[in-house]
């Protein structure tokens, strides 16, 4: 048991818990309204949106998994960087438009947007279910990050006792999300970011200082891992895989309900646009964090018997915790681990709130009780947020981690299939709700089949055209098929279907 680390860790965790409950009174609103509980009253300015979106997009799982991928697979893991480069032009260009539409019509979820646009409740249902199914394993993976750092402090055991710290952390999370809604993660995100910046700057300065610069870090990397493998003449090989992984992940990102929630909770389109220029500060941190994977190689933590047990339990996900334990005194390791654990709380809270909004608005009000009042919707959302978190906890305790990762991979490709419905509809008036539903079904099935052919292990599928191979991210192939079906069917259906009755079209 690493007592110094554990003491600091628990102290920070208690502090954050207090903050989570106090958040209910911050810029207090009527928390019985869903837009207050679930969107913070749409009052978050540039500054808070920066922390909220940052806490959302750069999660504990990112901090553990990206360096772990670099540690294990090398350069290909760096695709997280081009991904973060291209998400911000997309944020700037597309999402202010969506915000306006949502603001004018009181939409809370992307499913609301689709229902307003096309008046097709089955399409709205498909979008709602896709969002829920894709986000659940994502919440579960946040717990993996928490599990690894708790284990790294020597708190581990088998069976239910071993999972107890995780269960306690999640009960706390559930309690303050229930009372404070979106205000809680927004406030905690500030603490999380301060901690993360301290840790990353310390690591990125201290370790190269000890080794004598960054050159020894990179020279410790096996040459085959340092760069992408240049492709042979008849294929785009690792290049197309790298670029499409970045592109596909970027397209899916803002469709996830938790990003949508953070975007819609901002106070104006300009708060979103300013963040397109300000959020990349996090990307630099992520880039430095990614390199921790190479630092772990340079310090040979994998061969150190002190960490053998950790690597056995958590695989390459243990690379960053091992590196921190190897380099820093116990109390600082406590800060670093607290940063990662709190980095899991923030997105888990936002994700569960986002899912709860969907359950309440699009399943309960949409299908069960069309006349539900605002207070009733909020009550349902609060209970749903508890059920969703409990579900994620059960998932991670009983389902093996590799399975959760495969599930998240599928989640990403399913999530991107709502792009034509949610985003293209902002620009194209010719799309038809039923055609979009067909496109969604084709895209999701094709993607799932492609993933099945790799036994759900790889994100990349190779298509060969005229003797040239294009290995590309499955989500993009699926999205391509989806868009073609949506557009072609919309054209074919046009003479037979009355124009969509959605009120948003007239208003826009």
């Amino acid at each position: 048991m690493n007592w110094p680390a554990l003491t600091v860790f628990i102290a920070l965790f208690v502090f954050v818990t207090g903050l989570g409950f106090a958040a209910a009174r911050w810029r207090a609103g009527d928390l019985s309204l869903l837009s207050e509980w679930g969107l913070g009253g749409r009052r978050f300015g540039t500054f808070v949106t920066w922390f909220l979106l940052g806490g959302d997009l750069y999660t504990a799982y990112t901090f553990i998994a990206v360096p772990a991928l670099i540690y294990g697979a090398g350069a290909v893991g760096f695709f997280a960087i081009p991904y973060t480069v291209i998400i911000y032009p997309i944020l700037y260009l597309v999402f202010p438009r969506l915000w306006r539409l949502a603001h004018r019509n009181g939409y809370v979820t992307s499913s609301d947007v689709v229902l307003g646009r096309y008046g097709n409740r089955w399409l709205a249902l498909a979008v709602a279910i896709t969002s829920l199914v894709a986000t659940m394993p994502y919440i579960a993976l946040q717990l993996v990050g928490m599990q690894v750092v708790i284990g790294a402090m020597g708190v581990q055991g088998d069976g239910l006792i071993g999972d107890l710290p995780l269960i306690i952390a999640f009960v706390i999370l559930a309690a303050f999300t229930y009372t404070s809604g979106l205000r809680a993660p927004a406030m905690i995100a500030v603490v999380k970011d301060v901690l993360i910046y301290i840790v990353v700057i310390a690591v990125a300065i201290w370790i190269p200082y000890k080794l004598g610069g960054f050159a020894p870090v990179f020279s410790a990397v096996p040459p085959a891992k340092l760069l992408l493998t240049p492709p042979a003449a008849d294929t785009y090989g690792s290049y197309s895989a790298y670029a499409t992984l970045a592109m596909g992940s970027a397209l899916a990102l803002f469709l996830y309900p938790h990003s949508m929630t953070a975007i819609l909770s901002s106070s104006s389109p300009n708060a979103i646009r300013r963040n397109a220029a300000l959020l990349p500060a996090y990307s630099l941190v992520l880039g430095l964090l990614a390199l921790l994977g190479f630092m772990a190689l340079a310090l040979h933590v994998g061969g150190n018997p002190a960490y053998a047990d950790g690597f056995k339990r958590y695989g390459n996900n243990f690379a960053v915790p091992a590196l921190i334990l190897e380099t820093f005194p116990g109390w600082f390791a406590g800060i670093a681990f607290a940063a990662i654990a709190i980095g899991a709380l923030v997105p888990s809270a936002i994700m569960s709130i986002a899912c709860a909004n969907i359950v309440s608005r699009n399943l309960y009000k949409g299908f069960l009780r069309p006349n539900a009042t605002g207070a009733e919707q909020t009550a349902v959302a609060k209970i749903a947020s508890l059920v969703i978190k409990a579900g994620a906890l059960v998932f991670i305790i009983f389902v093996p981690v590799p399975f959760a990762i495969q599930f998240q991979l599928l989640g990403g490709l399913w999530m991107s299939q709502v792009l034509p419905s949610v985003i293209l509809g902002l620009y194209l008036r010719m799309l038809n709700g039923w055609a979009l539903l067909a496109g969604w079904a084709v895209g999701a099935s094709l993607g799932t089949w492609m993933a099945y052919t790799t036994s759900f292990k790889a994100a990349v599928f190779t298509v060969t055209v005229l003797g040239t191979s294009f290995p590309s991210y499955i989500a993009l192939w699926a999205l391509g098929a989806n868009i073609i079906v949506s557009v072609v069917l919309s054209v074919l259906l046009k003479p037979f279907v009355a124009p969509a009755a959605g009120h948003a079209i007239a208003a826009d």
Binding site: F78, P82, V85, I86, R100, Y239, Y242, P269, A277
Partner: protein, 67 residues
């Protein structure tokens, strides 16, 4: 509902600059190499990190131009 937001900003031609990060990042063969290294970072790594800053600068430029 909160107060109505400010009117949409003018659409400015600088928005076309947003194409640059996409071209740069998708053209993988242009940066998959070690030299020239910078502060011990192989080109592959510092070039992509540099684009984070450039893309942020572009967003800043477009925002300034439109407001």
């Amino acid at each position: 509902m909160a107060t109505p937001p400010a009117p949409e900003p003018r659409w400015h031609w600088t928005r076309f600059l947003f194409i640059l990060p996409f071209i740069a990042m998708f053209w993988v063969s242009s940066y998959n190499r070690v030299e020239p290294a910078l502060f011990g970072f192989p080109f592959f790594y510092w070039y992509q990190l540099l684009w984070i800053v450039l893309a942020a600068a572009i967003a800043g430029i477009v925002y300034k131009a439109e407001h």
